[in-house]
Structure formats: C-alpha cells, structure tokens
Subunit: 273 residues, 3 copies
C-alpha cells in the first residue's frame, strides 16, 4: 500500500441513525485498517436510484482521482439483480446494477470504461450486501485489486433513461425535457439537464406543471426574495433556486418530477432591452 492510504467513499440510502452506514466502514477496515473511509452521503431517499446517481457523480468530481466509491441504493438486495464494479479514467465504483452508475458510465469515454459482474459471497446476509459484498470489494479495489480480480467482464451496466435530458431543436432555440434529480438541503431543485447537454446554448426559462420562470442568475444572492430562478449549480446541472427559501417548496417540485427548460438559439448572448 502506498504511503498515503487509499480512500473508499460511501454513497447510500442507509441514513445514519442505525449502524448500517458504519458497518461499511467496519467491513472496509476488516480488509485493510489503514483505508481512509469517508461517508459522502447516506441521505439518498430510500430506493431513489436517480438521486443516488446524481450524488455519486457530484461526489466523484469532488474527490481526488483514485478514490473508490461504494454506492448502495439497493431495494432488490438478495435477489438475482446483478452486482457490479466499473472503472473509468476518473473513478472506480462498486454498486448494484440498477442505474446508480449511470452518470459515471455515460460521461466516460466509451473506449476507456469497463464493467464487471461481482459474485455474491456464500455467507452474505441476504439483506445486507453493502456490508458483505460491496464494501469488501471496494476495499480490495482501493488496495490495488484489478476489476478482473474481483469480477467477470460484462458489456455495460444498466443506465437510467430518465437521468438524461432530451433536447429538441425548436423554431427559436431548443427545449430540454428533463426531471428533478434531487431536491437538496436548501430546497434547490436540481435537474437532469447538464452543461454538456446545452451544446453551447444558454438557459433562458423553465416551465413545470404549475408555473414557470424566466429569471436566470449566477448565484443564490442574485435572486430577488420570493422568486424562483435558474442557475448552473456546482456539479454542472441546471437547478431551480430561491433566495433563503426552498425553490422546491415555492414550485411544488419534488424528486423525479418533469420540467421543461427553454434554451436560447446557438450564438445567443443574453437579452437586449
């Protein structure tokens, strides 16, 4: 092991009021007690795979290269659902094969990503593969095991169709059909629409079931009190935000809800008066 102990980063829907989250740390330390284990979040809503996929992507951007992610949002634990490990130039990650790695996989170069299927240990608790399968494999990968040492190659992981916005050209620009991936702690409603999806266009407005906004700002303090605005958040996704208030509460939008974002034509450079 290198002078600096490798890092395993945890993303789950376990909450932190039980011992499930810490059991992942214990399981990693049974493999190698010098591992740095960090709880990225255990606050994914139970079973919310889309939110988990977003958080995993946001975390991967924030941690140094070489970090191994152990992601567990796994309502089908103990069934025939596949367990996987993936590797991209940016990140390695173990997870159930239910779409959790969608962004990590789709945003990696197609010729520089790999996926393996993981065997289930004979003595694994049927209700707790996090402790008995995912964390130990993440620890082994962090300690230097290759994907081929921990699993069997498969073509690709399952990816969530709804994690990717659909952008359609219109007469006067484009329209992105997307969803709310996450409502964060401050009530910001973060969409599935990414900077890369904009293809150089700018966001000009958004429309949802019960309202709309044409306010586009740079940061939260630029939003007039009581209003809802659009901005590009710190993980590169378009979000609805408010000033010292919850945009989710103001709009009624929640996880998974549909929202349409209007994009300016290519070459648009802001509104003239």
């Amino acid at each position: 092991m290198a002078d600096v102990p490798p890092c395993v980063a945890l993303v789950t829907d376990y909450g932190i009021d039980d011992t499930y989250a810490a059991a992942l740390v214990g399981a990693c330390w049974r493999v190698e007690p010098r591992l740095r284990c960090v709880s990225v979040t255990h606050g994914v809503s139970p079973g919310d795979v889309l939110a988990g996929a977003y958080h995993l992507k946001a975390a991967a951007r924030a941690f140094p290269a070489g970090t191994v992610f152990c992601a567990v949002v796994d309502p089908e634990v103990g069934t025939e659902r596949r367990a996987i490990a993936i590797e991209t130039p940016e990140v390695r990650c173990v997870a159930p094969d239910n779409g959790l790695v969608t962004y990590l996989w789709l945003e990696a170069p197609a010729d520089r990503r790999r996926c393996v299927s993981l065997p289930v240990p004979a003595n694994a608790s049927p209700t707790f593969h996090g402790r008995d399968l995912f964390a130990p494999v993440a620890a082994r990968i962090a300690c230097g095991a290759s994907l081929d040492e921990v699993g069997t190659p498969v073509d690709a992981p399952h990816c969530l169709a709804e994690a990717v916005a659909r952008v359609d050209a219109t007469v006067d620009g484009a329209r992105a059909s997307c969803r709310i991936a996450v409502v964060d702690h401050f009530g910001n409603a973060i969409t599935t629409l990414r900077l890369a999806d904009l293809d150089g266009r700018e966001v000009v407005a958004a429309r949802w079931a019960t309202g709309e906004t044409r306010l586009v700002v740079r940061t939260y303090a630029d939003i007039p009190p009581g209003e809802v605005a659009l901005l590009v958040g710190s993980a590169g996704h378009v979000e609805l935000a408010a000033r010292r208030a919850s945009a989710a509460a103001l709009t009624g939008l929640g996880h998974g809800d549909a929202i349409e974002v209007e994009l300016a034509p290519l070459g648009f450079r802001g509104w003239s008066a």
Copy 2:
C-alpha cells in the same frame, strides 16, 4: 502504538446537529491524535438505552476485533450512576452503567468478560461526561491501557431485562415474548428475539396489539407490496419488514412495544402445501 492506529467507535444519542458528537473525537485526539475515530451512530433516540444496546451489538459485529466502543446514552449524567468499562473476547467498551452494554456482556462467555468502575475526573463538566470521561478513557484503552489501569473491578454491569426475549414451550412449538428494540431508517421493526434464542426452532408467525403476520421471508424483495413479513436481519435479530414501505408505519409498532413471535416445534422444516 502499532503501525495501524487503533480505532475508537462512537455510539450515542447526541444527534449530529450540535458539536457534542465531534467533541468526543476531539477528546480522543487530545489523548492520541493518530486514533481512527468513527461515528457508528449518534442517532439513538434521546435516552433510549435499549436501542443503544442493540446498535452497540450490531456495530461490534461489523468492526474488526480490537475496536474500542465509546457508548453514551446517559440521561443520568452527573448523578451517582456508575461509569464502566467492559472487556470481552470480542470487544471493549466504555459506557454509563445503565444497560447499554447488555448484549455485549450477555453474549460473551461468563469466564472471559470483565467490568470495571471508572472514576469521574474532578474537572468533568456535570453535563458532559462523554467528552470529559468516556472518550478519554476509550482513547486510553485503545492506546493500550488495561481495564485495571482505568478503573476498579466490579462484578457485572447492569443489564436490561427487557432486552432478552422470554421463550416458552407450547403444545405446538414455542412462543417468544419480546419487544421492538429499534425501528430502523427503512421502518423495519427489529425485535429483541435473536437467532440464539430460537434454539434451532424457526419463526412462523408474529402477533402484536393490532395485527399479526404468518409471512416469513429471506429478504425484503420477497415481501408482497403492502404486506408485513418476518425475517432474520443482518445482526441476527428477528424483524418485521415491508416492501419499499415502513413496517413500523403499517403495524403501528414503535420502540419498546411488545410483540409475540410464534416458533415452530424443534425439527420443523417448513410448511407442506
């Protein structure tokens, strides 16, 4: 100190919105800054000693041998209640002597467990023995201090009678009178009934104040939507669970509530059609 820094694991009812939980880490690091400190959970309901005892047991199973637990659910802090440290072949633990170590103590061989009473430092805050007594002693034990160096031998810690199910033989099997030890993040209602209590029998049904179930499954995904089933959870306790729903909400059961579990006769091997 060894090449791998020892580990202190924390179990409290402090919550994580204040600085109380982190103050335990700070107190450990004042003793030895290389200690690995891990927050197992600070989400025990305030003052809920039975839940704390369960979480402590579940965590002890998940961490490597040698881990020292610092458990603080301590509504009587600052009074004459005793502070203790225990040692078993599996675990060492400091805690107030109010039943928190019940499972750790009862599940250890009677001739291989020890308990000492800890002195209260003169300058300890009367409201915060976690920071001023328990964490520093846990850190010293982790660094190699023996129980005799930190306290005075006593016979045994206080153990909670309600933490142990009573199993009575019946005409057609047995009946276990137990309680809900914990309702977890997913709404699973975890009972005090342990695999060891079954003595080879199988769980076949459960009855509580307002309902019953005869459904016994292996994992959560096996439960039909809307139903409540019995299974053996990852810490070896029988629990009531539901499919992507809260069994606690569906049954109305909460921490400490009574529940009766019906056991098959010895030698029972499942239902014939």
Copy 3:
C-alpha cells in the same frame, strides 16, 4: 508534514443528505490526502450565522490546539462579501466574513489575533466557495501555510452584536439581556450569556416572552419532571433545560429569541431558607 497529520474541522449549514459536506473533505484531500478531516457539524440551520458562531466556539474548545476550522454558513456566497482567515492563540479558522468567527475573535487577546482577507480563485463556482475557496485554504493552513501566504491583512472580522449579552447592574444584582444562540438536539435552549459575562455573579432566574424560572441546577438529572431550569452548559454558556424533555418546546423559545437572565449581586452565595 509532521508525523501526525494535521486536522481540518468542518462546521457548515450544508446538511449531510447531499454531497456538499463531503466535497469539503475531497477538496482538502486534493491539497493533502493525509489530512485528518472531521465533520464537527453540518447541522447549523441554513443561514443561521449566530448558531454557527456558537458551534464553532464549542468545537474549538473540544479539539486539540493546531486544529484548523473551516466554517461555512454563507448565504451571500458569490457576492462581494469578504472571505477571511483568522488566527488566535487557540485556533485558526477560515470563513465568510459575516460574523461566524465572532466568539473565536472576541474571546482571544486583542494583541494576539490576526485576520486576513482571502482572494477568490478565478475558477471558483459562484455557488460553492466552500469547495473551491474555503476548504483548500484551510488545508493549506493546516499543512503549514501562514496567514500571510493565503491572504491580505485586514483589521478585524465582522462580529455579531447580538452574540454578546448586555449586562446591566440593578438595585439587587444585575440583569443580562441575551438571546437563544442554539436549540440543541435535546431541546436545551442555549443563550448567548457566558460564564465570563457573569463577572463572578451567579444566575438566579430567567424571564422570556411567555414565562420564567427561578430554578438553577448543576445537571439535567437534577431538574424535576415538567420543569424548566437554568444551568451552565458544557461550553460555558447559560442554558434553559428540562428533564428528558425539550426546554425549547416547554418554553416556546427558538433560535434568536430574546431572554433576560437575572444575576445575583457580587458575593452572593446561594439562597438562605
């Protein structure tokens, strides 16, 4: 770097259900992967600078000297508000200049404290200076950078007037006008009134909008059920507490509410019967 890796301690209002809090750890580890990063609390109410200032002080007392705090309660992120780092004999801390460091600064000797203004990196996300400015600077300071290496000297940080109780002498002692700085996890309502403010006097009563108490105790277990009492908490602030109940709920007091504390005359030594 020393044999024992330096420590960065985090205090924010980010919550822990997203990846914002962990992103600070990732940002520190991008500077130096051996840093010990500890989440003191991410549970400050969104935007509540007074509560953040109290938690920062309480945490600074609990951690070893040399710990660098990274404090982010920053509703004005991305605007012209100043970012700062301070140094006192006890602590070093980076924060937005909105009053978060009030107690750290005011309780340090006037001739042994320094403050510098921090530049904003060109590529910083306008919505996430925690990740892109504060955490990296905290990591650099922890690794040995001086304040002069990370910023430009300024006179003093902004301090919150409402963080300090006003004590006025009265005919029969003194009266302290203060506020609730924090309601903690147990419902204790912690005031801005500090031991140092008492100047040797003792607390004898408190009055708030809807009630009063003349009960002063040493620890929680001394409070009769159903009653609200005054005590000096573990960080040296006067608080209202109840027995296995929430003093905040019993009194209706919340963050920022005004409360008046009556102090005995100098030399007072308790009530005679």
